[in-house]
Assembly symmetry: D2
Homo-oligomer: 347 residues x 4
């Protein structure tokens, strides 16, 4: 950490800072320039909010943190890319992984039918919400345990591993009994106690990015899971909140390569929630893969205009089946693959 | 709800929409213009996501919801402003209410000393975090139950009611035993199950605005509490996330009058979290009161540069004592009062 | 336009609105429901701010505009996609077009050398700034006319058409004498008089999206050019301003398919300005093409760390030459082509 | 400037950076820690984009600029607050200044009548647009020169100095002949050539903040004016663009104290454009004054629902007259004054 003193900082103010740093058991190294004094802080670990504490001292102009706040999720800690095995699916390898399924589990028929359709079209995992966070308390909030049972049944029928959301610590044990991967939704992305409890539960976790989370904060949220001994975190970019009303959220496609430069964790893209509109989903899916995403999470429904939630952004079976070969083609173009599907390059 | 069909919508597409509306047990009323057909939907209650469901039908250009999504928090439901009594303090009346105290409860001495100082300067309630949500898992996270005990002790010493944050449903009972008001933090503002559980706990709730929550979403979050039978929700604007890095968050001062136009619930402003810098807190506090806020929530610490959290934004006792008479003066200027304090108009 | 009256609107308020509408020479059509009255406004053209004027009348709850504000740029006006010929390059056809070159023209050698390199690697047009908008008045602001001469010389040497920015109406004639395409930068995207003057100048225009421009506003800015008789506008998404500091701007890749749904104009992506960091440019370039962009605008410099502007985001010749075959591969995967280049699919 | 090298940076990479710094005629000062090397850059002036140039060198982790980019507008350059005299009005002194008037000059009668009304209620300057920037080319764009003549006439009638917008360099001479203060609108806030030309014109300038301008960028825009020899710049916060749709823009009230900490220039608030809705204007006006603004710019119209532009956000004469005593009261409460008006403290 480097403390830049103001141009007119007094001797006393500098001494004060040095004393404060030493009081914390750290070393201070002075460099006095013509115009300003700069204090280097050495020693570790630095208290995480040390910069804030020092910034308010009289005479301090700026405090610059050099070391990163995130640890377990960074390349410094683990120099190989994380691969996560979920039954027979490997996430984070050369193959890109498509997770597909309905927003909400509505019935056995709807879910099993969708599972079969998305499997046939190239999906490797089934998504479906049993507990649904809804902006309004007056909306459909999922079938709960019955939804979990249906997911398990669809897994049995198709062999697809399942992923479903857990919203509160009290539900973890129940969800654990059915799911292969826990999902933490955007609105819970900084629900730290939920993250820690899931971190203890011993199954992979997909952590969606919060609506206004900076990338560093996202990794710090992942650390809440990882610091409990669970290294298997999948990040999922699903659009951020901006001033643009034309899409439900703004897909931050740059987050994919930026995160890959910061972290060894796999990164997915959810084009359905980002777009909020069915017609945009294919373009965003392809953009995500082109940007280097390790996989996609796509909403598919047998009859989107009868869906109990998020119908507007769900693909039909036919639309999904038309999309996967295009995903395969783009994946191949960027050095990845989507093996189940024949990459049909349109002419 | 009004469904605007596209210019070239076919007879069949219009019929389709009408059939879908009737399938849901609602009435459809056609108005055929020269250029377009418009379908009015009547009946109630409308399914909350009906607009989304209808929007994706072929031939539909736009769906306009006329009725508001929020209910219990709106003026239609309750035409008088909500006043909330917390021991001998009335929130939402003519007097503005100042809540002050340290970000985190760090020790008995620190807390009691602060409680005395802020009471002397005009605060009517004591804040202090026992359970602290932190962006990083490696930061100080509060004293937990010991923190709650200290708050109760400070209340005993000073008579100030206390408010403290609860982060997860499992802690509600414990926090309930000590606090007068539950606080839900910005990062939990859409943690719906937490909101519902607190709604059942039977004490007033201060609901901070999420970092990227639109005002309608904020009221819908309040409805999660209210729909459990608890009408005593205080809203607190604490800054939203924008592109401007000069402040930790951007205080959306317009939210105060806008919410007051939408809802009968009292609205507070938290200038400390909005600013993130001590020097800005007074200006934002005064702006909040001038805009019509029902109260303020301000961080005060005996020695901010030794605070374990948020020291950069905490006022010293002297700074707080210098601020309250100015708050009283502005309150008076906008037809409110802050009675404990003499309004000293600077000259 | 539809005017939704408040639930309690009086007869008089409704009459008032109807009178106001008729005063403007428009027709009003009443539809009285059980709960509210709705007034349809018919006739054309509607004054562009009619909604604002009506919204403030007593008793009005909401005014809904049905017709779009943009005209010439919309599909209703022109049902074929716009193709723009610039010398022998066709923009907006099946082939995607790469424009490349230095941020600023710095010298003849630098520019001609870059033109040759980018041409060899597959670029079809040369970019280079002679007049540079800079955030600070103390930065390098371009070579001016000398820069234009150098661009013309590079065109002569390589046959590549050139595009360069014009910042103020007084420079239009001079820039017109040298450039093939005018560029309007993000900071001038709502400099309406500049847009109109360029609209009269009779050469194609690339209009960058403003940092916080909504998509409808972008099309309306294009209309300033088009309403002067110039239909040849190319839109270029270059990142918007959001809360995320990891990238200079946030590439709104969704803007590509959304604009293509609204407008017949070709849409480019500028991954260099969006990213602000060289290492991210390839991923964003590929994402842009995958999302359906008609072309890319990429900064390339012989020695980026000696560039007088934007070196941090410029590719070297080698990096650019490595990127174009990957662009060609993704283009092919989404049914487009980049013919000069062999699509090398990485394995 | 401080260059922080990566943890694993090689000797050669450090030498490279040092060589690059010296090549630019600057000094480099090495400080080698256990974990990293830090290079201090000394000498002046530093090239404005030096940080960008150095950041891309191999082995560099972070470059930290210590000196500020803005100069003439900063306290370092001028330690007294700038006061600007416009006829007999002094801006930036103890008195707060209210500028009021219609969005657009529509007729002599409308303008003179408004001028008289706002003067009687306490305004010290008259605003009115003769050249209007409009999002759409199909909207009313002002009366042009006739509008300027009407403003001059209203000044003659009332003695109020006038302020009006200039949109393009070619209009400066004409506007100069009539106006007392030039206004540069939000959409032209980074139209650098316009700023420079106005800087040469020798009359005070009000520079509105761009919709997504960071505060440092705003000061740099002011420097374009000031570096041409014109020190008389008034800044005006008018709301920024955020995700919140409830207001037309989000008033960044924190900008007032933050700018006052950075710069000696006076800062105004425009509550009309920030709110976009008449009912919110009073609250935002009072909040702006409470936060320390040097003045307000408020839209007033004799008949807002017949206004040719921005009627929705214009106050009636009666509303304005009811507001100014409240402004006076808040001004007094924060140690300022609004002398023409009796501060009526509501009870």
């Amino acid at each position: 950490m480097i403390i830049v003193m103001e141009r007119g900082a007094t001797r006393e103010q500098v001494d004060d800072i040095v004393a404060r740093v030493r009081e914390l058991g750290l070393g201070a190294h002075l460099s006095e320039g013509e115009e300003r004094t700069i204090v280097g802080v050495v020693g570790s670990p630095l208290p995480p909010t040390l910069d804030e504490q020092l910034e308010i001292h009289a005479g301090v102009e700026q405090v610059v943190r050099i070391t990163k706040k995130y640890k377990l999720s960074g390349w410094d800690f683990r120099p190989q890319k994380t691969q996560i095995r979920v039954r027979d699916v490997v996430i984070g390898g050369d193959e890109v992984t498509i997770i597909a399924g309905p927003c909400s589990v509505e019935s056995e028929e709807q879910t099993v039918e969708t599972a079969r359709a998305v499997k046939a079209a190239g999906a490797r995992m089934l998504r479906g919400g049993a507990y649904k966070p809804r902006t309004s308390p007056y909306e459909f909030r999922g079938l709960g345990r019955r939804g979990l049972e249906i997911l398990a049944l669809a897994r049995e029928e198709t062999g697809l591993p399942v992923i479903t959301e857990v919203m509160t610590p009290a539900d973890i044990a129940e969800v654990h009994a059915y799911t292969d991967v826990f999902q933490v939704g955007a609105r819970n992305a900084q629900n730290y106690l939920l993250l820690e409890e899931i971190g203890k539960a011993g199954k992979p976790v997909m952590l969606k990015r919060g609506l206004s989370m900076q990338l560093e904060e996202w990794l710090l949220a992942a650390e809440y899971v990882m610091s409990q001994g669970n290294p298997d975190v999948i990040l999922c970019e699903r659009g951020i909140r901006t001033f643009e009303p034309a899409t439900r959220n703004t897909l931050d496609v740059s987050a994919v390569p930026v995160i890959q430069g910061m972290s060894h964790l796999p990164v997915f893209v959810d084009p359905s929630h980002a777009a909020g509109k069915r017609a945009l989903v294919p373009s965003l899916a392809l953009a995500g893969i082109a940007a280097g995403a390790d996989g996609l999470m796509i909403e598919v429904h047998p009859s989107p205009d009868h869906a109990l939630s998020d119908g507007a952004q769900s693909l039909t079976f036919a639309e999904f089946a038309a999309l996967t070969p295009r995903i395969a083609a783009v994946a191949q173009a960027v050095g990845r693959s989507l093996p189940v599907v024949d990459a049909v390059v349109s002419v």
